[in-house]
């Protein structure tokens, strides 16, 4: 990598912008703007900066539709919207997936459309922290806002999560390094622990690394809970961890003033999925009998939690909600996206602010090759290669303002700093336009 000179050639700075990358939603970014382009970003991590300073080559700028040869052709907005509305209006099992990288304001329109046509609406939680939500529903959810950790925590545990790669500023801004009211020496006042089979970049900088074996999460937490209840462990090594280490760790966790457990997809994606979280929550609940402990899932997209919150207050269920019978239905494995695709049920798939082409297993994506796919996004990505209609949206938090919810559910209004490309349309406008056009088709059919 080469050294790059600081950018000095800019017109003005827009301060306190919110990063549209991960669930940390850092709201202290300064954008350096020149001629309606963000030419540099201050305070952002590598991930945030790279997203905000997007690749213009692959920006979706015009509506497109596949022709009879399967090649994408530029069309005007009316043509594309009408075609998409026609597909949606005539679908029997439409599925609207995505939403985690757009604003709550857009989701509102999306939900109205979903309810109107009787579709399934789902977001990225379905392939990331869905199991977390299920565990929360089973056993509870002792969480906090991130400032609680910053101001009070003297022990921070990361498990199944590698924030140095996925949430690079998390440790610096919220959990480990910052000086808090009761932790004035910052990093020196805290013990950082990583439980992870891998010697991840986060494990490398931790005070304690607990390398439990792959798929050993459930039994490991079960053993700690048993020790908390005063039980003598039978085995010498549990999930790859020596008995004494488990006893010492349990003792250490009991004796902190304020502990925080952050967990990621390492827990949700291994063998016992939601049950890993289930038992980790139980563990944190148990620890509260001795001292203060809280936990939080490390949410990925900047508004993935926002969608779950939005759906919960609008319709009582967090994700994977099926309106096909006129009322909302939430049934894990039945009304959720990957299961529906595996079963080859959907007959129209709309993806907005998400990239299943990049993130769904091939076995699930295979069905997208059989049905019409409508894509609303800002960049040409793997999903574009499967899309029949492409509708270019705008960039929330850079070009369009909107509301998002941080991983700890703190709502943040993301402002806009520059104007969107003239040929693009805001996500909210696109979805509303689809809604109006679908309504017109349906009303006329009556």
């Amino acid at each position: 990598m080469v050294y790059e000179e600081p950018v000095t050639d800019y017109d003005h700075i827009v301060e306190n912008c919110t990063c549209a990358f991960c669930g940390s939603n850092c709201d202290d970014l300064d954008y350096l703007v020149k001629g309606n382009h963000v030419v540099a970003v201050r305070h952002a991590c590598r991930l945030g900066a790279s997203k905000i300073m997007e690749d213009e080559d692959q920006r979706l700028k015009v509506p497109m539709m596949r022709d009879e040869n399967g090649e994408l052709q530029e069309v005007d907005w009316d043509t594309a919207l009408d075609a998409a509305a026609e597909l949606i209006a005539n679908a029997v099992r439409p599925l609207f997936y995505g939403w985690s990288e757009t604003s709550i304001e857009c989701m509102k329109k999306g939900l109205e459309l979903t309810e109107y046509v009787g579709a399934v609406i789902d977001n990225q939680a379905t392939i990331c922290h869905g199991p977390t939500v299920q565990a929360v529903q089973n056993v509870g959810y002792p969480l906090m806002s991130l400032g609680e950790v910053k101001n009070r925590a003297d022990m921070v545990v990361y498990t199944g999560s590698n924030p140095m790669n996925a949430h690079p500023r998390h440790l610096a801004r919220y959990s480990v390094f910052p000086r808090g009211w009761f932790r004035q020496r910052g990093r020196f006042d805290r013990t950082l622990v990583t439980w992870d089979p891998k010697f991840s970049d986060t494990a490398k900088m931790s005070d304690i690394w607990v390398p439990f074996e792959e798929n050993g999460d459930y039994a490991f937490c079960n053993a700690i809970r048993a020790v908390l209840k005063g039980k003598e462990l039978k085995e010498d090594v549990i999930s790859g961890i020596p008995k004494q280490d488990i006893i010492d760790l349990t003792e250490a966790m009991k004796n902190v003033e304020f502990g925080a457990l952050f967990f990621g997809l390492g827990l949700t994606h291994t063998l016992s999925k939601q049950r890993n979280i289930d038992i980790a929550i139980g563990l944190v609940q148990d620890l509260n009998a001795y001292t203060k402990w809280v936990l939080l899932p490390m949410r990925g997209h900047f508004n993935v939690n926002g969608f779950n919150i939005f759906m919960a207050y609008q319709m009582g269920f967090p994700y994977g909600v099926d309106f096909c019978r006129g009322y909302p239905r939430y049934m894990i494995g039945e009304t959720t996206t990957v299961d529906l695709l595996n079963r080859e049920e959907p007959d129209v798939f709309m993806v907005i602010a998400a990239d299943p082409g990049a993130h769904f297993p091939g076995g699930a994506n295979m069905h997208l090759a059989n049905i019409p796919v409508i894509q609303i996004d800002i960049h040409w990505g793997p999903s574009t290669e499967l899309a029949d209609i492409v509708l270019p949206g705008t960039f929330i938090g850079v070009e369009t303002a909107g509301t998002s919810y941080r991983m700890d559910s703190v709502p943040i209004h993301m402002k806009s700093a520059i104007n969107p490309p003239e040929t693009c349309r805001e996500d909210e406008w696109i979805v509303n336009e689809l809604y109006e056009r679908v309504k017109k088709i349906k009303e006329e059919a009556k």
Binding site: G118, N138, R225, K234, L271, S272, R275, C324
Partner: protein, 269 residues
Amino acid sequence: MKTITLTLKKFSSIALEFEELIPDTVYNWNKEDFENYQVPVGNSRFPLTNYFDIEVEGDAEGPEDVKMILEGDMGRVKYIGYRMTDGEIIVNGDADLQAGAEMIGGSLKINGNAESYVGREMRGGNIEVMGNVKEYCGTSYIGEWRGMSGGVIKVHGNAGKQLADCMSGGEIYIGGNCDILAGIHMTKGYIEIGGDVTRWPGGQMKNGTIVIKGKLSYLLEGFDPEGVFVDPEVDGKQLAGKYIKYKGDVGVNGKGSLWLDAEKNRNLL
């Protein structure tokens, strides 16, 4: 006695929802009623006759006099026997999600495999599956801590993951093998597994009974041995042979009992 036979003639990859076609609602339907009936499919309803040949024979005073026979691959027919209180349903083929969910009484027999959620939140009646069941058989609804509370589920084949989550009553018999976390969060009831079990039966169980007649690969730390018993009587059932009894899950102060066949699990003796 009324016999209703629905024979599949067209398979729909979008699932049909059958919760309206249970003995409680159809006992007084004649053939014409079925032919006029529109079955929910996705966000629409289509004539049942698009998918089925229908035969109706005999009369019924109530659901108890009804026998429904579903012929063919019901792999995309959900909610068979949902909330039924009486009568009989026989599936000659595979069944889709939620077969016998929230069932109150009567009997459901599946002469094939069944998808997930067989007998979810079942309160009474009998379910028999001749083949395998997938995940969450006899489970609770997500978030609900009161699961299956009554009735009997008998599976001749294997069961998938997380059998009988939050079970709070009733009996489940699995003839074959069972995957991880059978009886998780269980508070009451009886589970008997004839074959082998992979990992962690009874995780966070508070009470209830799990009997494993095959080999268990991985037992949780939360279970304390209480001795070996010969031909024990467990929940009023006489078991034959030597069994190791465990109590757990201590992590949740559980008082559940886990019985393992001693011969098959000699390593634990």
